[in-house]
Amino acid sequence: MKHYWNVYKKFVSTSVSVETSFRTSFILLIFMDLFFFLSTIGSVSFIYDHVTTIGPWQKNQLLFFLSFMLMIDNLHMMIFSQSFWEFSNHLKTGQLDYIILKPLSTIFSVFFRHFRLSSLFNTPVFLGSLIYYGNQVGLSLTQWALVPFLLALGLALLVVVEFTLTTSMFWLTDGMGINFLRMQMQQLARWPSFIYRGVIRKVLMSALPVLLIGSGPVQFLFDTAQWPLLVGMLLCLVLFSFLLVVVWRQGLRRYDSASS
Protein backbone atom coordinates (compact mmCIF):
# COMPACT_ATOMS: atom_id res chain seq x y z
CA MET A 1 0.00 0.00 0.00
CA LYS A 2 2.86 2.35 0.93
CA HIS A 3 4.54 1.52 -2.37
CA TYR A 4 1.36 2.51 -4.27
CA TRP A 5 1.09 5.73 -2.27
CA ASN A 6 4.69 6.64 -3.13
CA VAL A 7 4.04 5.90 -6.81
CA TYR A 8 0.86 7.98 -6.71
CA LYS A 9 2.80 10.91 -5.26
CA LYS A 10 5.16 10.66 -8.23
CA PHE A 11 2.19 10.53 -10.62
CA VAL A 12 0.84 13.72 -9.04
CA SER A 13 4.15 15.54 -9.11
CA THR A 14 4.86 14.72 -12.79
CA SER A 15 1.28 15.67 -13.76
CA VAL A 16 1.66 19.00 -11.96
CA SER A 17 4.98 19.68 -13.68
CA VAL A 18 3.51 18.95 -17.11
CA GLU A 19 0.33 20.94 -16.51
CA THR A 20 2.06 24.03 -15.16
CA SER A 21 4.43 24.06 -18.14
CA PHE A 22 1.52 25.15 -20.33
CA ARG A 23 0.28 28.15 -18.37
CA THR A 24 -2.36 29.42 -20.80
CA SER A 25 -4.02 26.00 -20.96
CA PHE A 26 -3.79 25.78 -17.18
CA ILE A 27 -5.62 29.10 -16.71
CA LEU A 28 -8.16 28.28 -19.42
CA LEU A 29 -8.98 25.00 -17.64
CA ILE A 30 -9.77 26.93 -14.46
CA PHE A 31 -12.11 29.23 -16.40
CA MET A 32 -13.72 26.29 -18.22
CA ASP A 33 -14.68 24.68 -14.91
CA LEU A 34 -15.94 28.02 -13.58
CA PHE A 35 -18.14 28.61 -16.63
CA PHE A 36 -19.53 25.11 -16.26
CA PHE A 37 -20.33 25.75 -12.61
CA LEU A 38 -21.99 29.11 -13.32
CA SER A 39 -24.04 27.84 -16.27
CA THR A 40 -25.32 24.82 -14.30
CA ILE A 41 -26.29 26.79 -11.21
CA GLY A 42 -27.59 29.70 -13.34
CA SER A 43 -29.88 27.51 -15.48
CA VAL A 44 -31.58 25.98 -12.44
CA SER A 45 -31.89 29.36 -10.72
CA PHE A 46 -33.60 30.83 -13.79
CA ILE A 47 -36.10 27.95 -13.88
CA TYR A 48 -36.91 28.49 -10.20
CA ASP A 49 -37.66 32.17 -10.92
CA HIS A 50 -40.85 30.82 -12.56
CA VAL A 51 -41.75 27.68 -10.59
CA THR A 52 -41.78 26.90 -6.86
CA THR A 53 -40.90 23.21 -7.02
CA ILE A 54 -39.37 20.69 -9.39
CA GLY A 55 -40.77 17.32 -8.40
CA PRO A 56 -40.86 17.38 -4.58
CA TRP A 57 -37.85 19.72 -4.22
CA GLN A 58 -37.69 23.47 -3.67
CA LYS A 59 -34.92 25.66 -5.07
CA ASN A 60 -32.36 25.25 -2.27
CA GLN A 61 -32.81 21.49 -2.16
CA LEU A 62 -32.15 21.10 -5.88
CA LEU A 63 -29.23 23.53 -5.74
CA PHE A 64 -27.76 21.53 -2.83
CA PHE A 65 -28.11 18.38 -4.94
CA LEU A 66 -26.42 20.14 -7.87
CA SER A 67 -23.62 21.43 -5.63
CA PHE A 68 -23.12 17.87 -4.35
CA MET A 69 -22.88 16.56 -7.94
CA LEU A 70 -20.60 19.43 -8.99
CA MET A 71 -18.30 18.66 -6.06
CA ILE A 72 -18.09 15.04 -7.25
CA ASP A 73 -17.42 16.37 -10.78
CA ASN A 74 -14.65 18.57 -9.42
CA LEU A 75 -12.95 15.63 -7.67
CA HIS A 76 -13.47 13.45 -10.76
CA MET A 77 -11.89 16.11 -12.99
CA MET A 78 -8.97 16.44 -10.58
CA ILE A 79 -8.15 12.79 -10.02
CA PHE A 80 -9.48 10.70 -12.92
CA SER A 81 -10.84 12.56 -15.94
CA GLN A 82 -7.67 12.97 -17.98
CA SER A 83 -6.67 9.33 -17.55
CA PHE A 84 -9.79 8.16 -19.42
CA TRP A 85 -8.91 10.28 -22.46
CA GLU A 86 -5.28 9.20 -22.36
CA PHE A 87 -6.29 5.54 -22.12
CA SER A 88 -8.15 5.59 -25.44
CA ASN A 89 -5.05 7.15 -27.05
CA HIS A 90 -2.70 4.65 -25.40
CA LEU A 91 -4.77 1.76 -26.75
CA LYS A 92 -4.76 3.20 -30.25
CA THR A 93 -1.06 4.02 -30.34
CA GLY A 94 0.20 0.99 -28.45
CA GLN A 95 1.63 3.04 -25.58
CA LEU A 96 -0.29 0.80 -23.19
CA ASP A 97 2.63 -1.64 -23.62
CA TYR A 98 4.80 0.49 -21.33
CA ILE A 99 2.06 0.63 -18.70
CA ILE A 100 1.52 -3.12 -18.73
CA LEU A 101 5.26 -3.68 -18.25
CA LYS A 102 5.31 -1.71 -14.97
CA PRO A 103 5.30 -3.78 -11.75
CA LEU A 104 1.99 -2.26 -10.65
CA SER A 105 -1.71 -3.04 -10.98
CA THR A 106 -2.61 -2.01 -14.53
CA ILE A 107 -5.95 -0.58 -13.37
CA PHE A 108 -4.05 1.66 -10.96
CA SER A 109 -1.44 2.74 -13.52
CA VAL A 110 -4.05 3.49 -16.17
CA PHE A 111 -6.72 5.29 -14.17
CA PHE A 112 -4.68 7.07 -11.48
CA ARG A 113 -1.88 8.26 -13.74
CA HIS A 114 -3.00 11.85 -14.37
CA PHE A 115 -3.81 14.51 -11.81
CA ARG A 116 -5.28 17.88 -12.78
CA LEU A 117 -4.04 20.66 -10.51
CA SER A 118 -6.23 23.31 -12.19
CA SER A 119 -9.35 21.63 -10.76
CA LEU A 120 -7.93 22.01 -7.25
CA PHE A 121 -7.93 25.79 -7.77
CA ASN A 122 -11.71 25.65 -8.30
CA THR A 123 -12.41 23.39 -5.32
CA PRO A 124 -13.11 26.34 -2.94
CA VAL A 125 -15.85 27.54 -5.31
CA PHE A 126 -17.52 24.10 -5.52
CA LEU A 127 -17.07 23.50 -1.80
CA GLY A 128 -18.37 26.98 -0.98
CA SER A 129 -21.51 26.29 -2.99
CA LEU A 130 -22.02 22.96 -1.22
CA ILE A 131 -21.61 24.58 2.21
CA TYR A 132 -23.87 27.52 1.31
CA TYR A 133 -26.77 25.41 0.02
CA GLY A 134 -26.21 22.83 2.77
CA ASN A 135 -26.82 25.61 5.29
CA GLN A 136 -29.85 26.81 3.32
CA VAL A 137 -31.47 23.37 3.57
CA GLY A 138 -30.56 23.27 7.28
CA LEU A 139 -28.22 20.27 7.50
CA SER A 140 -27.45 19.29 11.11
CA LEU A 141 -23.92 18.64 12.43
CA THR A 142 -24.38 14.89 12.09
CA GLN A 143 -25.51 15.30 8.50
CA TRP A 144 -22.49 17.51 7.77
CA ALA A 145 -20.23 14.84 9.25
CA LEU A 146 -21.69 12.33 6.80
CA VAL A 147 -21.23 14.55 3.72
CA PRO A 148 -17.50 13.68 3.10
CA PHE A 149 -18.25 9.94 3.28
CA LEU A 150 -21.24 10.31 0.97
CA LEU A 151 -19.14 12.33 -1.49
CA ALA A 152 -16.50 9.59 -1.44
CA LEU A 153 -19.15 6.92 -1.93
CA GLY A 154 -20.73 8.79 -4.87
CA LEU A 155 -17.34 9.39 -6.49
CA ALA A 156 -16.31 5.75 -5.97
CA LEU A 157 -19.48 4.47 -7.61
CA LEU A 158 -19.13 6.88 -10.54
CA VAL A 159 -15.54 5.92 -11.28
CA VAL A 160 -16.04 2.17 -10.86
CA VAL A 161 -18.96 2.27 -13.33
CA GLU A 162 -16.84 4.38 -15.68
CA PHE A 163 -13.78 2.12 -15.33
CA THR A 164 -15.97 -0.87 -16.20
CA LEU A 165 -17.50 0.89 -19.19
CA THR A 166 -14.06 1.99 -20.36
CA THR A 167 -12.82 -1.60 -20.59
CA SER A 168 -15.05 -1.92 -23.69
CA MET A 169 -12.37 0.16 -25.47
CA PHE A 170 -10.27 -3.03 -25.69
CA TRP A 171 -12.81 -4.40 -28.16
CA LEU A 172 -13.13 -1.22 -30.24
CA THR A 173 -10.86 0.16 -32.95
CA ASP A 174 -11.30 3.70 -31.62
CA GLY A 175 -12.42 4.10 -28.03
CA MET A 176 -13.00 7.85 -28.12
CA GLY A 177 -16.78 7.40 -28.42
CA ILE A 178 -16.82 5.60 -25.04
CA ASN A 179 -15.48 8.75 -23.41
CA PHE A 180 -18.43 10.67 -24.85
CA LEU A 181 -20.75 7.96 -23.54
CA ARG A 182 -19.23 8.46 -20.08
CA MET A 183 -19.90 12.17 -20.31
CA GLN A 184 -23.53 11.50 -21.20
CA MET A 185 -23.82 9.24 -18.17
CA GLN A 186 -22.54 12.11 -16.05
CA GLN A 187 -25.10 14.41 -17.63
CA LEU A 188 -27.91 11.99 -16.72
CA ALA A 189 -26.60 11.73 -13.15
CA ARG A 190 -26.55 15.50 -12.74
CA TRP A 191 -30.32 15.55 -12.27
CA PRO A 192 -32.25 13.96 -9.40
CA SER A 193 -33.68 10.49 -10.00
CA PHE A 194 -37.30 11.64 -9.60
CA ILE A 195 -37.29 13.53 -12.91
CA TYR A 196 -36.93 10.22 -14.77
CA ARG A 197 -39.80 7.77 -15.16
CA GLY A 198 -40.55 4.12 -15.92
CA VAL A 199 -38.10 1.54 -17.19
CA ILE A 200 -35.35 4.07 -17.91
CA ARG A 201 -35.35 5.15 -14.28
CA LYS A 202 -35.22 1.53 -13.07
CA VAL A 203 -32.29 0.78 -15.39
CA LEU A 204 -30.42 3.92 -14.32
CA MET A 205 -30.95 3.03 -10.66
CA SER A 206 -29.80 -0.59 -10.95
CA ALA A 207 -28.12 -2.06 -14.06
CA LEU A 208 -26.33 1.21 -14.88
CA PRO A 209 -26.64 2.91 -11.48
CA VAL A 210 -25.65 6.47 -12.45
CA LEU A 211 -28.70 8.01 -10.78
CA LEU A 212 -27.62 6.58 -7.41
CA ILE A 213 -24.39 8.64 -7.47
CA GLY A 214 -26.03 11.88 -6.34
CA SER A 215 -29.64 10.97 -5.64
CA GLY A 216 -28.75 8.19 -3.19
CA PRO A 217 -26.68 10.31 -0.79
CA VAL A 218 -28.74 13.51 -1.06
CA GLN A 219 -32.11 11.79 -0.63
CA PHE A 220 -30.65 10.01 2.40
CA LEU A 221 -29.48 13.34 3.86
CA PHE A 222 -32.97 14.79 3.41
CA ASP A 223 -34.75 11.70 4.72
CA THR A 224 -32.93 8.90 6.57
CA ALA A 225 -35.74 6.49 5.61
CA GLN A 226 -34.03 6.44 2.19
CA TRP A 227 -31.10 4.38 3.60
CA PRO A 228 -31.83 1.47 1.20
CA LEU A 229 -30.45 3.71 -1.56
CA LEU A 230 -27.08 3.73 0.22
CA VAL A 231 -27.19 -0.04 0.56
CA GLY A 232 -27.93 -0.19 -3.17
CA MET A 233 -24.90 2.02 -3.84
CA LEU A 234 -22.62 -0.22 -1.79
CA LEU A 235 -23.95 -3.33 -3.53
CA CYS A 236 -23.44 -1.75 -6.97
CA LEU A 237 -19.94 -0.69 -5.93
CA VAL A 238 -19.00 -4.25 -5.00
CA LEU A 239 -20.65 -5.79 -8.07
CA PHE A 240 -19.09 -3.33 -10.52
CA SER A 241 -15.65 -3.69 -8.87
CA PHE A 242 -15.88 -7.46 -9.38
CA LEU A 243 -17.08 -7.01 -12.96
CA LEU A 244 -14.27 -4.54 -13.63
CA VAL A 245 -11.56 -6.98 -12.52
CA VAL A 246 -13.03 -9.80 -14.64
CA VAL A 247 -13.61 -7.73 -17.79
CA TRP A 248 -10.29 -5.92 -17.41
CA ARG A 249 -8.43 -9.26 -17.42
CA GLN A 250 -10.34 -10.31 -20.56
CA GLY A 251 -9.53 -6.97 -22.13
CA LEU A 252 -5.81 -7.28 -21.46
CA ARG A 253 -5.86 -10.72 -23.09
CA ARG A 254 -7.66 -9.19 -26.07
CA TYR A 255 -5.15 -6.33 -26.37
CA ASP A 256 -2.78 -6.64 -29.31
CA SER A 257 -0.30 -3.82 -29.16
CA ALA A 258 -0.59 -1.34 -32.01
CA SER A 259 3.10 -0.50 -31.76
CA SER A 260 4.56 -4.00 -32.04
Binding site: L28, G55, Q187, R197
Partner: protein, 270 residues
Protein backbone atom coordinates in the same frame (compact mmCIF):
# COMPACT_ATOMS: atom_id res chain seq x y z
CA UNK B 1 -9.55 29.13 -67.08
CA UNK B 2 -12.64 26.84 -67.13
CA UNK B 3 -10.37 23.79 -66.86
CA UNK B 4 -8.69 25.35 -63.80
CA UNK B 5 -12.12 25.89 -62.26
CA UNK B 6 -13.11 22.32 -63.07
CA UNK B 7 -9.93 21.01 -61.51
CA UNK B 8 -10.61 23.06 -58.39
CA UNK B 9 -14.21 21.80 -58.13
CA UNK B 10 -12.89 18.29 -58.59
CA UNK B 11 -10.46 18.77 -55.66
CA UNK B 12 -13.26 20.00 -53.44
CA UNK B 13 -15.58 17.19 -54.48
CA UNK B 14 -12.98 14.46 -53.86
CA UNK B 15 -12.09 15.96 -50.46
CA UNK B 16 -15.77 16.02 -49.51
CA UNK B 17 -16.13 12.36 -50.52
CA UNK B 18 -12.97 11.30 -48.63
CA UNK B 19 -14.10 13.20 -45.52
CA UNK B 20 -17.53 11.58 -45.72
CA UNK B 21 -15.88 8.15 -45.65
CA UNK B 22 -13.63 9.21 -42.73
CA UNK B 23 -16.57 10.58 -40.72
CA UNK B 24 -18.66 7.46 -41.22
CA UNK B 25 -15.89 4.85 -40.97
CA UNK B 26 -16.43 4.24 -37.26
CA UNK B 27 -20.20 4.41 -36.99
CA UNK B 28 -20.47 3.63 -33.28
CA UNK B 29 -17.96 6.37 -32.53
CA UNK B 30 -19.81 8.79 -34.79
CA UNK B 31 -23.06 8.00 -33.03
CA UNK B 32 -21.58 8.33 -29.53
CA UNK B 33 -19.67 11.53 -30.31
CA UNK B 34 -22.11 13.41 -32.50
CA UNK B 35 -25.67 12.13 -32.16
CA UNK B 36 -25.51 10.71 -28.61
CA UNK B 37 -24.83 13.96 -26.74
CA UNK B 38 -27.70 15.79 -28.48
CA UNK B 39 -30.05 12.86 -27.89
CA UNK B 40 -29.19 12.60 -24.19
CA UNK B 41 -29.43 16.39 -23.84
CA UNK B 42 -32.94 16.26 -25.30
CA UNK B 43 -33.86 13.24 -23.15
CA UNK B 44 -32.79 15.04 -19.95
CA UNK B 45 -34.69 18.19 -20.91
CA UNK B 46 -37.82 16.20 -21.79
CA UNK B 47 -37.77 14.49 -18.39
CA UNK B 48 -36.96 17.70 -16.55
CA UNK B 49 -39.84 19.63 -18.09
CA UNK B 50 -42.21 16.64 -17.68
CA UNK B 51 -41.34 16.75 -13.99
CA UNK B 52 -41.86 20.53 -13.79
CA UNK B 53 -45.24 20.52 -15.59
CA UNK B 54 -46.21 17.28 -13.79
CA UNK B 55 -49.00 16.50 -16.25
CA UNK B 56 -50.75 19.86 -15.72
CA UNK B 57 -51.89 20.72 -19.25
CA UNK B 58 -53.27 24.10 -18.12
CA UNK B 59 -49.94 25.28 -16.69
CA UNK B 60 -47.98 27.81 -18.74
CA UNK B 61 -44.53 29.10 -17.85
CA UNK B 62 -43.69 32.43 -19.51
CA UNK B 63 -46.16 31.62 -22.26
CA UNK B 64 -44.96 28.04 -22.76
CA UNK B 65 -47.38 25.17 -22.26
CA UNK B 66 -45.79 21.71 -21.80
CA UNK B 67 -46.35 20.89 -25.47
CA UNK B 68 -44.78 24.18 -26.58
CA UNK B 69 -41.80 23.63 -24.27
CA UNK B 70 -41.18 20.18 -25.74
CA UNK B 71 -41.62 21.56 -29.27
CA UNK B 72 -39.02 24.24 -28.40
CA UNK B 73 -36.53 21.57 -27.30
CA UNK B 74 -37.23 19.37 -30.33
CA UNK B 75 -36.31 22.30 -32.55
CA UNK B 76 -33.28 22.98 -30.32
CA UNK B 77 -32.16 19.41 -31.07
CA UNK B 78 -32.54 19.96 -34.84
CA UNK B 79 -30.87 23.39 -34.80
CA UNK B 80 -27.93 22.03 -32.75
CA UNK B 81 -27.45 19.17 -35.24
CA UNK B 82 -27.31 21.46 -38.25
CA UNK B 83 -25.83 24.67 -36.86
CA UNK B 84 -23.46 23.57 -34.13
CA UNK B 85 -21.65 20.57 -35.52
CA UNK B 86 -18.19 19.63 -34.34
CA UNK B 87 -16.68 18.65 -37.68
CA UNK B 88 -13.48 20.66 -37.31
CA UNK B 89 -12.01 19.11 -34.18
CA UNK B 90 -9.05 17.55 -36.01
CA UNK B 91 -7.94 20.95 -37.24
CA UNK B 92 -5.80 21.67 -34.19
CA UNK B 93 -4.36 18.13 -34.25
CA UNK B 94 -3.16 18.77 -37.80
CA UNK B 95 -1.18 21.75 -36.52
CA UNK B 96 0.10 20.17 -33.31
CA UNK B 97 1.16 16.90 -34.94
CA UNK B 98 2.87 18.67 -37.81
CA UNK B 99 0.46 17.30 -40.39
CA UNK B 100 -0.07 20.68 -42.05
CA UNK B 101 3.29 20.25 -43.77
CA UNK B 102 1.40 18.27 -46.41
CA UNK B 103 -0.91 21.19 -47.11
CA UNK B 104 2.08 23.44 -47.69
CA UNK B 105 3.12 21.14 -50.55
CA UNK B 106 -0.30 20.12 -51.93
CA UNK B 107 -2.09 22.39 -54.41
CA UNK B 108 -4.99 22.54 -51.92
CA UNK B 109 -4.92 24.95 -48.99
CA UNK B 110 -5.37 24.08 -45.36
CA UNK B 111 -8.58 26.12 -45.09
CA UNK B 112 -9.93 24.64 -48.32
CA UNK B 113 -9.35 21.11 -47.05
CA UNK B 114 -11.04 21.79 -43.71
CA UNK B 115 -13.93 23.70 -45.27
CA UNK B 116 -14.56 20.82 -47.69
CA UNK B 117 -14.38 18.40 -44.75
CA UNK B 118 -16.85 20.55 -42.85
CA UNK B 119 -19.22 20.55 -45.86
CA UNK B 120 -19.25 16.75 -45.89
CA UNK B 121 -19.89 16.73 -42.14
CA UNK B 122 -22.73 19.19 -42.66
CA UNK B 123 -24.24 16.95 -45.34
CA UNK B 124 -24.31 14.05 -42.86
CA UNK B 125 -25.77 16.25 -40.13
CA UNK B 126 -28.46 17.63 -42.45
CA UNK B 127 -29.37 14.08 -43.45
CA UNK B 128 -29.73 13.04 -39.80
CA UNK B 129 -31.68 16.20 -38.93
CA UNK B 130 -34.06 15.68 -41.88
CA UNK B 131 -34.63 12.04 -40.95
CA UNK B 132 -35.31 13.01 -37.30
CA UNK B 133 -37.60 15.84 -38.31
CA UNK B 134 -39.76 13.78 -40.62
CA UNK B 135 -39.84 10.84 -38.17
CA UNK B 136 -41.10 12.94 -35.25
CA UNK B 137 -43.51 14.73 -37.55
CA UNK B 138 -44.80 11.42 -38.97
CA UNK B 139 -45.30 10.07 -35.44
CA UNK B 140 -47.27 13.20 -34.56
CA UNK B 141 -44.84 14.64 -31.95
CA UNK B 142 -44.14 17.78 -33.96
CA UNK B 143 -46.18 19.89 -36.35
CA UNK B 144 -44.05 21.07 -39.24
CA UNK B 145 -44.48 24.76 -40.15
CA UNK B 146 -45.40 26.00 -43.63
CA UNK B 147 -42.91 25.51 -46.47
CA UNK B 148 -42.11 29.22 -46.45
CA UNK B 149 -41.30 29.23 -42.72
CA UNK B 150 -39.29 26.02 -43.09
CA UNK B 151 -37.33 27.55 -45.98
CA UNK B 152 -36.47 30.68 -43.97
CA UNK B 153 -35.59 28.61 -40.89
CA UNK B 154 -33.34 26.22 -42.82
CA UNK B 155 -31.56 29.05 -44.67
CA UNK B 156 -31.01 30.91 -41.39
CA UNK B 157 -29.73 27.79 -39.62
CA UNK B 158 -27.30 27.01 -42.45
CA UNK B 159 -26.06 30.59 -42.28
CA UNK B 160 -25.43 30.16 -38.55
CA UNK B 161 -23.55 26.94 -39.19
CA UNK B 162 -21.10 28.95 -41.29
CA UNK B 163 -20.54 31.31 -38.35
CA UNK B 164 -20.08 28.32 -36.03
CA UNK B 165 -17.51 26.88 -38.41
CA UNK B 166 -15.48 30.12 -38.36
CA UNK B 167 -15.56 30.00 -34.54
CA UNK B 168 -14.43 26.36 -34.50
CA UNK B 169 -11.73 27.21 -37.03
CA UNK B 170 -10.64 30.06 -34.75
CA UNK B 171 -10.25 27.73 -31.75
CA UNK B 172 -8.42 25.24 -34.00
CA UNK B 173 -5.79 27.58 -35.46
CA UNK B 174 -4.88 28.80 -31.99
CA UNK B 175 -3.01 25.47 -31.80
CA UNK B 176 -0.02 27.37 -33.19
CA UNK B 177 0.31 28.86 -29.69
CA UNK B 178 -1.70 26.58 -27.40
CA UNK B 179 -0.91 23.00 -26.42
CA UNK B 180 -4.56 22.10 -25.83
CA UNK B 181 -7.27 23.80 -27.90
CA UNK B 182 -10.05 21.42 -26.82
CA UNK B 183 -10.38 23.54 -23.66
CA UNK B 184 -11.38 26.58 -25.74
CA UNK B 185 -13.80 24.46 -27.76
CA UNK B 186 -15.47 23.05 -24.66
CA UNK B 187 -15.58 26.52 -23.09
CA UNK B 188 -17.22 27.89 -26.23
CA UNK B 189 -19.78 25.07 -26.13
CA UNK B 190 -20.59 25.62 -22.45
CA UNK B 191 -21.05 29.38 -22.90
CA UNK B 192 -23.06 28.92 -26.10
CA UNK B 193 -25.37 26.30 -24.58
CA UNK B 194 -26.05 28.56 -21.63
CA UNK B 195 -26.41 31.92 -23.38
CA UNK B 196 -28.10 30.80 -26.60
CA UNK B 197 -31.23 29.35 -25.02
CA UNK B 198 -30.28 25.72 -25.71
CA UNK B 199 -30.79 24.66 -22.09
CA UNK B 200 -33.88 26.75 -21.33
CA UNK B 201 -35.70 29.33 -23.49
CA UNK B 202 -34.36 32.86 -23.10
CA UNK B 203 -37.91 33.94 -22.11
CA UNK B 204 -37.11 32.51 -18.68
CA UNK B 205 -33.94 34.61 -18.29
CA UNK B 206 -33.96 38.00 -16.54
CA UNK B 207 -34.94 40.71 -19.05
CA UNK B 208 -31.75 42.78 -18.47
CA UNK B 209 -29.64 39.75 -19.43
CA UNK B 210 -31.67 39.11 -22.60
CA UNK B 211 -31.26 42.79 -23.58
CA UNK B 212 -27.49 42.46 -23.26
CA UNK B 213 -27.40 39.09 -25.03
CA UNK B 214 -29.24 40.51 -28.06
CA UNK B 215 -26.06 42.41 -28.95
CA UNK B 216 -23.99 39.21 -28.88
CA UNK B 217 -24.21 36.35 -31.40
CA UNK B 218 -25.45 33.84 -28.80
CA UNK B 219 -29.28 34.17 -28.96
CA UNK B 220 -29.12 34.03 -32.77
CA UNK B 221 -27.42 30.62 -32.59
CA UNK B 222 -30.32 28.72 -31.00
CA UNK B 223 -33.16 30.81 -29.58
CA UNK B 224 -34.11 32.89 -32.62
CA UNK B 225 -33.77 30.04 -35.17
CA UNK B 226 -36.12 27.96 -32.97
CA UNK B 227 -38.54 30.88 -32.84
CA UNK B 228 -38.51 31.03 -36.64
CA UNK B 229 -39.35 27.32 -36.88
CA UNK B 230 -42.11 27.80 -34.29
CA UNK B 231 -43.63 30.52 -36.47
CA UNK B 232 -42.73 33.32 -34.04
CA UNK B 233 -39.78 34.76 -35.98
CA UNK B 234 -38.46 38.09 -34.77
CA UNK B 235 -35.12 39.93 -34.84
CA UNK B 236 -34.47 38.19 -38.18
CA UNK B 237 -32.74 41.10 -39.94
CA UNK B 238 -30.87 42.14 -36.78
CA UNK B 239 -29.75 38.54 -36.29
CA UNK B 240 -28.54 38.23 -39.88
CA UNK B 241 -26.46 41.40 -39.61
CA UNK B 242 -25.01 40.49 -36.23
CA UNK B 243 -24.07 36.99 -37.34
CA UNK B 244 -22.70 38.26 -40.66
CA UNK B 245 -20.63 40.88 -38.80
CA UNK B 246 -19.17 38.33 -36.37
CA UNK B 247 -18.52 35.84 -39.19
CA UNK B 248 -16.54 38.42 -41.16
CA UNK B 249 -14.63 39.51 -38.04
CA UNK B 250 -13.65 35.93 -37.19
CA UNK B 251 -12.85 35.06 -40.82
CA UNK B 252 -10.42 38.01 -40.86
CA UNK B 253 -8.95 37.07 -37.46
CA UNK B 254 -8.51 33.47 -38.66
CA UNK B 255 -6.70 34.70 -41.74
CA UNK B 256 -4.35 36.85 -39.63
CA UNK B 257 -3.74 34.05 -37.12
CA UNK B 258 -2.88 31.64 -39.91
CA UNK B 259 -0.41 34.10 -41.43
CA UNK B 260 1.29 34.72 -38.07
CA UNK B 261 1.08 31.10 -36.96
CA UNK B 262 2.61 29.61 -40.07
CA UNK B 263 5.75 31.64 -39.38
CA UNK B 264 6.04 29.97 -35.98
CA UNK B 265 5.29 26.51 -37.32
CA UNK B 266 8.10 24.01 -36.75
CA UNK B 267 6.61 20.86 -38.36
CA UNK B 268 6.75 18.45 -35.43
CA UNK B 269 8.03 15.02 -36.43
CA UNK B 270 9.73 16.15 -39.64
Amino acid sequence: MPSELNANIQKWWITIKVSWVKHTAYRLNFFLQIIGPSLVFFFVKYNLWSSIYAGDSALTIKGFSFQQMITYHMWAFIVALVAQGHGSWNLSDDIRMGRISSYLIYPFNFWEFHTASWLSFQAIQIGIASFTLFSVSFLGFLNLPSLEVMGVGIAYTLFISLFWFTMQYFTGVLAFWLEETWILRVMLNIITYFLSGAIIPLDLYPQWLVNVLNYTPFPYLTYYPIKIFMGQGSHLTQGLFIILGWTLVFAYINHRIWKKGIRLYTAAGM
